[in-house]
Amino acid sequence: MRLELDPNPTSGKVFAAYGLFLLLALFLLGVLFLAYGVSPLRAYGLLFSPLADPLGLAEIARRTIPLLLIGAGLALAFRVGFFNIGAEGQLLMGAVGAAYAALFLPVRPWTLPLMFLLGGGLGALWAGFAAWLRVHFGASEILTTLMQNYLAYYLVVYLVAGPWKGKLVFGFLYTDRFPEEAQLPRLGDTLVHWPTLLLGVAAAALLQALLFRTPLGFAWRVQGENPLAARYLGLPGGRLLLLAALFSGLLAGFAGVGEVAGIHLRLLEPAQISLGYGFTAILAAWLARGRPLFVLLTAPLLGLILAGGDALKMALSMPFRVVDVVSGLLLLALVGAEALSRHRILWRR
């Protein structure tokens, strides 16, 4: 038996490959649940429980917001060939920028826009640094952006435990609460900070239009498909890469602003600001196949998994690492399914 390339798979085959691998992932997840000592059926039920009631749906929506913003940016970055694994760190930098504007600058009517500007800017800077290292020194952005995640993590820990620690919070590691003017409005009693959601939808649409309807988008796509051809065409490869990195960093920064200004209303420990949004958004972007607009579909799907993971954590007091397991398995299933659907199985040699 061997595998041979199949450049134009039928949609039925693609569907079957994805179905097969997703089932496999669910099965392996069940085995892990059993090893942990939980009935797999009960665990699956909890994983999908947020779909059942309005509160659960709001939880999904709340998690969709950062996934949408980051995922749209990553879909662009991946398409151009900048493998940004550091959205998590860029999100944290966005949160840092927002917290600085909210807590240490005089409160004005334009405090919220300023928070987005500062947070988005820091996120873009964080991603741009990795792109600069790649363009000028040839350092793999897969590793540098990943390492920058840890740097941002420790920066936030340092800030909330040290200089920015709130005056009114005694044993806890977080800053004071943001003033009223620095808080995003929410939908009713839920945690859905709708301005950020709108921003995410707009970003996905804008990037889609930019990528497929403008000369810049064309250059981006050539650079991503075939860097050598881009060079022969005289396209500025480095600048294209840098620009895509800045966009994805900016959006990840926005996501960080949304999390602290819309949900937590203060800067706190990094593990509480982001539930692995940066990593999960990679899945959203990967699933969207380099089309920012498709992230409008994939982000809610992954939002469900995060909300379900939270339900698992609450109901069974599982460590939150369970989300790492689910997203790791899902990522393996997706990359495997994508690869399998591109191949034909030949039973003879």
């Binding site: 942990y36 694994i85 460590p319 790791g328 398995l329």
Partner: protein, 277 residues
């Protein structure tokens, strides 16, 4: 001074083992970004087996986890020719997640009979020299290098590209597993969530710093070990926040990558092999 060097070697040993594993796989043309996860899971399984049976069996179990990780990555990257970077990151997340999920009950449990650190450090050194000998002085080493440089030519000469890559991934995974087991059975010897603390990523960066040469990896690993020792020593005695020290290994990796970004990698690194293309 002597103590510093000794601690540097002991701390450098898991980095050395893991980077030897990554190096072996990369020499055959496959990137294994799953190091951190493989080490984390191997550390846990090794610790569990050592508690239930003997530490030596624990070490073997840790190696076994690594081998299994290598095989899984092989199925995706070699047989299915999936994106190596994405598959590797998935393995990293899976290993970290599974160890954090399953290891809770072992947190804070001491290990009665740890393995000797010095002995394992010597073993790691021996393995580095063996790997050098294997790569440059044996027929199979030549096959492996040729698969990493020019798989098409190797295939034409009758070398099984897929077979060599599976071999390199499994052996390399075994070394990563040993690195994880060293942490929980000899260095600590205990288990805590996140005990690998980024060493797997350091190991991947070290492969680049060492320009894919096992003997250079020895120096690199001990250099990192010395830096970690200094970090440990200086902590508390200088007015620098502890977070800055914790962030140091990651900053170091970025620095290393920037300084040695353009060293020559194996030509076919990261490229799936497809016969007839």
């Amino acid at each position: 001074m002597e103590e510093a060097l000794f601690r540097a070697v002991l701390f450098g040993t898991p980095i050395l083992l893991a980077s030897l594993g990554a190096l072996l796989a990369e020499r055959s043309g496959v990137v294994n970004l799953g190091v951190e996860g493989i080490m984390a899971l191997a550390a846990l399984v090794a610790f569990g087996v050592a508690l239930g049976f003997t530490p030596l069996l624990g070490l073997l179990a840790g190696v076994g986890v690594g081998v299994l990780g290598g095989v899984i990555l092989g199925v995706f990257t070699v047989t299915l020719r999936a994106n190596q970077f994405v598959a590797g990151l998935a393995v990293a997340a899976l290993g970290l997640g599974a160890s954090g999920l399953l290891g809770k009950r072992y947190e804070g449990v001491p290990l009665g009979h740890p393995l000797p650190e010095g002995g394992l450090a010597l073993l790691a050194l021996f393995l580095a020299f063996s790997l050098h000998h294997f790569l440059y002085r044996t027929r199979f080493g030549l096959y492996l290098r040729s698969v990493g440089e020019n798989p098409k030519a190797a295939d034409l000469f009758g070398v099984s590209v897929d077979g060599v890559r599976y071999g390199a991934l499994t052996l390399g995974g075994g070394l990563m597993g040993m690195a994880g087991a060293y942490l929980s059975l000899a260095y600590r010897p205990s288990w805590t969530d996140g005990m690998t603390g980024g060493l797997g990523w350091v190991a991947i960066a070290l492969v680049i710093l060492a320009a894919w040469e096992p003997l250079r990896a020895i120096f690199g690993a001990y250099l990192f070990g010395l830096l970690f020792f200094l970090q440990f020593r200086l902590q508390g005695s200088v007015p620098i926040p502890s977070e800055a020290f914790a962030a140091m290994p990651y900053l170091l990796v970025i620095l290393v990558l920037a300084l040695s970004g353009r060293t020559r990698a194996p030509k076919a690194l990261g490229v799936p092999f497809e016969r007839g293309r």
